[in-house]
Symmetry: C2
Subunit: 230 residues, 2 copies
Amino acid sequence: MRPSVFFYLTYALCVCLGLLCLLFVTYWNSHWRGGFSWDGSALQFNWHPVLMVSGLVVLYGNAAVVYRAPFTWKQKKNTWKLVHAGLMLLALLLSILGLCAVFDFHSGSHIPDLYSLHSWVGICTVVMFTFQWVLGLAGFLFPCSTTWFRSTLKPVHVWMGKAILVLSLTSCISELKYPTDHNTEAKFANSLGILTVAFGLVVFGILSRNKWQRPDTDSESVHVSMDARQ
Amino acid sequence: MRPSVFFYLTYALCVCLGLLCLLFVTYWNSHWRGGFSWDGSALQFNWHPVLMVSGLVVLYGNAAVVYRAPFTWKQKKNTWKLVHAGLMLLALLLSILGLCAVFDFHSGSHIPDLYSLHSWVGICTVVMFTFQWVLGLAGFLFPCSTTWFRSTLKPVHVWMGKAILVLSLTSCISELKYPTDHNTEAKFANSLGILTVAFGLVVFGILSRNKWQRPDTDSESVHVSMDARQ
């Protein structure tokens, strides 16, 4: 099988799993949790899982692999840097909106913030993501960024990108927990968890395969060609 | 700073975080959960988190990075393959013992098995780990293994290795959840969760940095030198 065919099959699996995650998280919250609203009630809380899975998992994962599609390799890298940064910004905004949903709900229901492991890991993820996005913008899109800064930043950016995905998966799974129920909702929510993890592992698979790495042509990559191949 | 100094500092951080994970999980279960026993009671269950964190996280993470220490690069790769396989086998045995602890406890207390997302992800992790170990033994240690098989297996082995670590972190965090408590035990258990994730991210950092990759000298690596650099 040609490498690009194998890539597109894997990418199709990644897209299907991502869409299933969105479908499952939306159906779960609309069918069993009462639907959506933005009024400080539990219905506002329901936006939290939907926005976090959409932004911090599905959109983030897709944005992470945009450079890997072989059809993009003949196009200018700067175009795809902008697509990558744009999708990541959208993912970040959805995540921040997801945090607003839960903070508003806590405030309306007098529930304290940031008391659980889920919230600790989750807030670390979004802070790290914000830091990564700003640093990525400064290093890879600002024209005044130096080659030294870009080449130093690139392996850190690659590692932090994977770390954020690990953190977002762990924080998602830590909250999708129905240990004592055996009903349909519990099984459905657990299946969403499995789908989320499966999506993350496929994204890791795409990122790990160096044959699918965009050939290095631009200045910072020449300097860090070894580190970029991660 | 010389690359090897940076490696050993990062590795020291990895070892310290791993030891802290072991200390925290043991203290948590002995101080707040009543200690340990092997009699089908809740005290047998307490072995579960200790054995899983020891085997599937700390020992697994350390076994994954053994090839990275620069002092091993001048030594025979086969020696370090055996160290890697031996440590992984120990990690696998501890994990299986950790599963026995929880199945025995469920059996003694008439609790059904495999009903939660934690158990679904956890059992997938151990099954995948077993599969990975057997395949690794057949591919990289059996003398009759062909070069084609080794070179095909290597990128899969590298990806599955990372996938298992992601799964073990998510399954650990999914069970360390004290959402409604604000007491010292909850904070302590949550801190164990943060330590576990931090340990995992440092292991990912070591694995992601190609400067710390053992130079390829053996036969299968020549064929897959690009894929091995992951």
